[in-house]
């Protein structure tokens, strides 16, 4: 009996206005979005490889004088994520590169600085289409599956047979969803073909697996919304009421809850801005450097005040032999203090920020739409996880560069008792072409899932709960 009902539902949908409408929308928009995004991705990769090449050339040409003058900046570029063709995520707001200097790292411009004007309302990426269009359509189709049939009178005819209600419900959900899923599958395949035609590395390391995962998760997401639509339909007697209810639910999930979550978190856990924090850090660095310079000046004056010019110039004079270890010790202590205090500021700020972000995320995950977007962003490497990994790689690279490059040259700034300043240099040879390369280890699938447990729970909830709700409501539904 179930198969008959499923077949009936499929045929009914296919022959109504809905199926061709939905098929047309899917088959038009999804491949179109893919084309646009794929062209954009290709452009970004071209720009990236050119900039890496130029930065490598610049790095190989670093001279000792530049290091001593403190004007060396090494740039580390982030490779554009290939799966950003499916969802933008944070791709356009992450800095395209970081600058590494003697005094630490600084973010460079982000892609949105470049293309702000050109992408004023965002890109038509796959996740956007699913959230905005396909989910709404799924809701609309489901919304009058029950209340619409009741209005037209055919529901009571169906139930006048010896037909268990749960079979009817299962048939409706199965059949209706199948009629949605097939056009979606075809559109997705068309999109994949478009990608292949555009020389996209679809079959390179692990990408095909992730694309399959994207398809499965999206299919589940559409099923979730379809079930919610059925649940609403089973709770209302009129098709009109179902539609208005669905509209409100869709707008709440898609547009209002994520914003309100973010706003509420910002009100409950206000946090200083990054600008403020980096200001605080640079003030700290400056004051510690000044203290160090004064201390060095004092010690230098103590040792060399009564020394001859010859003693100052000869490297192995007794004064210089005494000076060396004292200078190194002062610099080491300042370095340690700097590192410790900067780390403390970073730590406090990170805690503040993560408390706010966690609250915002938890609140926004009430919406299955937000949960879906977050999960897919992390699967595609353009989400929160990517941001964390980027920062990790940046910190590691700074450390590596400090060891290989910046620590080889010591600039000693001294402030003497009378207020005069003097600068001393000491340098060890540096092979600029052998510097470590900047790279970000992409997050493994398992990591993405572990980081998105709450999103998965939210999606699971919204899949199971409406189904149960629809079941309970339909069992007692008045079909007259």
């Amino acid at each position: 009996m179930l198969k008959t009902i499923i077949r009936k539902e499929v045929l009914e949908t296919v022959f109504s206005y809905r199926f061709p409408l939905f098929a047309a929308i899917c088959l038009l928009l999804i491949p179109l979005g893919m084309t646009v995004n794929q062209a954009n991705y290709a452009k970004r990769v071209r720009d990236w490889s050119e900039q890496v090449r130029l930065a490598d050339e610049a790095a190989a040409a670093i001279k000792l004088q530049d290091i001593m003058a403190g004007t060396v900046t090494i740039k580390g570029f982030r490779r554009p994520a290939p799966l950003s063709v499916f969802t933008q995520g944070f791709e356009s707001t992450l800095p395209r590169y970081y600058e590494f200097t003697q005094d630490g790292f600084k973010p460079g411009e982000s892609a949105s600085d470049d293309e702000s004007i050109l992408s004023v309302q965002g890109k038509v990426d796959f996740v956007f289409l699913v959230q905005m269009v396909i989910s709404l359509i799924a809701l609309l189709f489901a919304s009058d599956m029950i209340s619409g049939e009741k209005e037209s009178g055919t529901l009571r005819l169906m139930l006048a047979n010896r037909l268990p209600r749960d079979t009817v419900l299962a048939g409706k959900i199965g059949g209706g969803y199948l009629a949605l899923w097939v056009p979606f599958l075809l559109a997705f395949l068309a999109g994949a073909v478009v990608l292949m035609l555009g020389a996209f590395p679809l079959f390179a390391g692990g990408i095909a697996g992730r694309v399959l995962l994207i398809f499965l998760v999206t299919s589940l997401f559409v099923l979730t919304y379809f079930t919610i639509g059925i649940a609403v339909s089973a709770s209302t007697a009129k098709a009109r009421t179902s539609l208005v209810a669905i509209l409100i639910i869709w707008a709440a999930f898609q547009l209002i809850i994520p914003k309100l979550g973010d706003m509420a978190a910002r009100l409950i856990h206000p946090v200083r801005t990054e600008t403020e924090v980096s200001l605080q850090k640079s003030l700290l660095v400056r004051s510690l450097d000044m203290d160090q310079a004064k201390e060095l000046g004092r010690q230098w004056d103590l040792i060399f005040a009564s020394a001859t010019q010859e003693a100052r110039d000869k490297d192995d004079s007794p004064e210089n032999k005494k000076w060396g270890p004292i200078r190194d010790d002062i610099q080491q202590r300042t370095r340690e203090r700097k590192a410790q205090q900067l780390a403390a500021i970073d730590e406090t700020y990170a805690q503040e920020k993560s408390r706010q972000i966690n609250l915002a995320v938890d609140l926004s995950l009430i919406s299955p739409s937000a949960a879906f977007a977050r999960l897919l962003a992390d699967v595609c490497g353009t989400g929160e996880l990517e941001r964390a990994k980027y920062l990790e790689a940046v910190r590691a690279h700074q450390k590596a560069l400090d060891n290989e490059l910046f620590s080889k040259v010591k600039r000693t700034l001294m402030i003497h008792a009378g207020g005069q300043m003097s600068m001393g240099f000491s340098a060890m040879p540096v092979d600029a072409s052998k510097l470590p390369e900047f790279s970000i280890t992409p997050a493994a699938m398992a990591e993405a899932f572990k980081a998105n447990v709450r999103s998965l729970l939210s999606l699971l909830f919204w899949l199971v709960a409406p189904f149960a709700f629809a079941y309970v409501k339909f069992i007692r539904y008045d079909v007259r």
């Binding site: 409408l21 929308i25 928009l29 179109l32 646009v36 452009k43 720009d47 050119e50 900039q51 130029l54 003058a69 004007t71 944070f90 707001t93 800095p95 395209r96 411009e109 982000s110 949105s112 600085d113 470049d114 293309e115 702000s116 004007i117 050109l118 992408s119 004023v120 309302q121 965002g122 890109k123 038509v124 289409l129 905005m132 269009v133 709404l136 359509i137 609309l140 009058d144 098709a239 009109r240 539609l243 208005v244 509209l247 707008a251 547009l255 994520p258 914003k259 309100l260 973010d262 706003m263 910002r266 801005t273 990054e274 600008t275 403020e276 200001l279 972000i357 915002a360 926004s364 937000a370």
Partner: protein, 472 residues
């Protein structure tokens, strides 16, 4: 008879739950959005003031600019951002010189320092007036109007009304007038409340020229926008027999007009007018500079080999003058080359933005969203304005700072000289002037006319459809 009809429509609307839901939504969402926007603005204003203060303390003289880290220019955030956050998190608001020691002219790099602090706002979009009107109010307009004709026909009351000797024109006019009031009154009430809240919290609108003109025009745009969607709903309702079908069509049309069409317009325009990214432009300029400097350095090397060691000899002075001539010549070439690249890029971008706006205008949503961003000084006009002002500041910096350095190359190396008086002069300051209000108004006027046309068109269509509507 009009009065009776009108009163009937009004009573029906006010008595229904719909009006109170709309009132509640407006009174909650609009002031909430305005309040949050205000807090954001205050944070950004504080960041701006801090940055300006710190830069001012560090960089007082020309020498500071040369040796301490270059020159910076900052643009303050727009106080009208509560109307539309627009591109405020993405438009460049900081310009810094990228000055390699010893190599004028100065080049300013433009960037935005706000986006990073507001990542999630960037992700989900702000709760500004554009969102409330563009999304919530337009959906409400659809909900109010989808059943106006088809719904009444289904209920049977349309037939009853028309069985009186009542011209159809009056009926539809009364419906439109009454239901529009039901939408507009809560909106205006909530907006007034928000403006009062802003006044109480001391938001100073004086920094932006013609702020009240901008706000007034924005309200006009919003009212026309809501009206356009209402009339669209009326039109679709008059073309369908079932209210449900009308609603489904309207929702799909809404999603298309709001989410999909503007982006497609942007993508299509980019296909017609492809544009170099800023990064690529910077690369090309750097390439031009590298080539020119190589040629220049080759010539100067030759001259340097002939320089005498005695700085006081007349031959030295002559050699120095020759080197300066060579530098000046190559400098002119460089600036000409850069100007050509800039002009080409500007022209392409202007063409792209123009085409995008023109294609996107066909959706009433874009005819509303883009002008509101311009009126809030967070749109494309502001992007262009900051670029223009930054370039002007660049030439001031070159004139007063970077060109005061003189270079003389000798056999053994080079000497760099900076006139002491020039070095002690105050560093040039940057004062940002936002786009004047006349330019903005001229820019948004076509969209205003377009929205009026949309209203008239949709209403005329609904009118004609209703005249021939089968009310049985």
């Amino acid at each position: 008879m009009m009065r009776v009809l009108f009163l009937k429509e009004i009573r029906e609307a006010f008595a229904s739950r719909r009006f109170w839901v709309i009132l509640a939504l407006c009174l909650v969402l609009i002031p909430l959005g305005v309040e949050v926007s205000l807090k954001d603005y205050q944070t950004r204003l504080q960041n701006y003031r801090e940055a300006v203060r710190i830069y001012g303390e560090q960089t007082k003289t020309v020498t500071d600019v040369l040796y301490k880290g270059g020159a910076k220019a900052f643009a303050p955030p727009s106080p009208l951002g509560f109307l539309s956050l627009g591109l405020a998190l993405v438009n460049p608001n900081v310009a810094e010189t990228q000055y390699k020691y010893g190599e004028p002219p100065a080049v300013m790099r433009l960037s935005n320092n706000q986006g990073r602090d507001n990542l999630y706002e960037f992700f989900y979009g702000p709760l500004d007036l554009i969102f409330v009107v563009g999304v919530v109010m337009s959906l409400l307009a659809i909900i109010m109007s989808y059943g106006a004709i088809a719904g009444e026909k289904e209920q049977g009351t349309l037939g009853l009304v028309l069985s009186n000797s009542l011209p159809r024109a009056r009926i539809i006019l009364a419906k439109t007038a009454a239901n529009s009031l039901v939408l507009i009154i809560p909106f205006i009430a909530a907006l007034t409340l928000s403006l009062i809240i802003l006044e109480i919290q001391g938001l100073s609108l004086a920094a932006v020229g013609g702020a009240w003109v901008s706000i007034g025009l924005s309200v006009l745009f919003a009212v026309l926008f809501i009206g356009a969607f209402f009339n669209l709903g009326l039109l679709v309702s008059a073309l369908t027999k079932q209210a449900v079908a009308a609603l489904v069509t309207l929702l799909l049309a809404w999603v298309f007009l709001y989410g999909v069409y503007p982006r497609l317009a942007s993508a299509a325009a980019q296909v017609v007018h492809p544009v170099k990214s800023e990064a690529r432009l910077a690369l090309e300029k750097a390439q031009v500079r590298a080539n020119i400097e190589k040629a220049r350095d080759a010539e100067i090397d030759k001259l340097a080999k002939a320089m005498p060691d005695d700085e006081k000899s007349p031959a030295y002075e002559e050699g120095k003058k020759k080197q300066e001539e060579v530098r000046a010549k190559y400098r002119t070439d460089l600036e000409a080359g850069w100007r050509a690249l800039d002009r080409e890029s500007e022209a392409r971008r202007a063409a792209l933005l123009g085409l995008t706006a023109d294609i996107a205008r066909l959706s009433p949503v874009s005819a509303f969203v883009r002008p509101l961003a311009e009126l809030s000084r967070t749109g494309w006009l502001e992007y262009r304005q900051f670029g223009v002002e930054a370039r002007e500041f660049e030439s001031v910096l070159n004139r007063d700072v970077f060109d005061k350095l003189t270079f003389v190359r000798m056999r053994g190396g080079a000497t760099v000289n900076l006139d002491e008086k020039a070095g002690a002069a105050t560093a040039p300051a940057f004062e940002y002037r936002p786009t004047p209000v006349e330019v903005v108004v001229r820019n948004v006027l076509p969209d205003l006319v377009l929205l009026v046309l949309f209203n008239l068109l949709f209403f005329a269509g609904a009118f004609i459809a209703f005249i021939r509507y089968d009310a049985r």
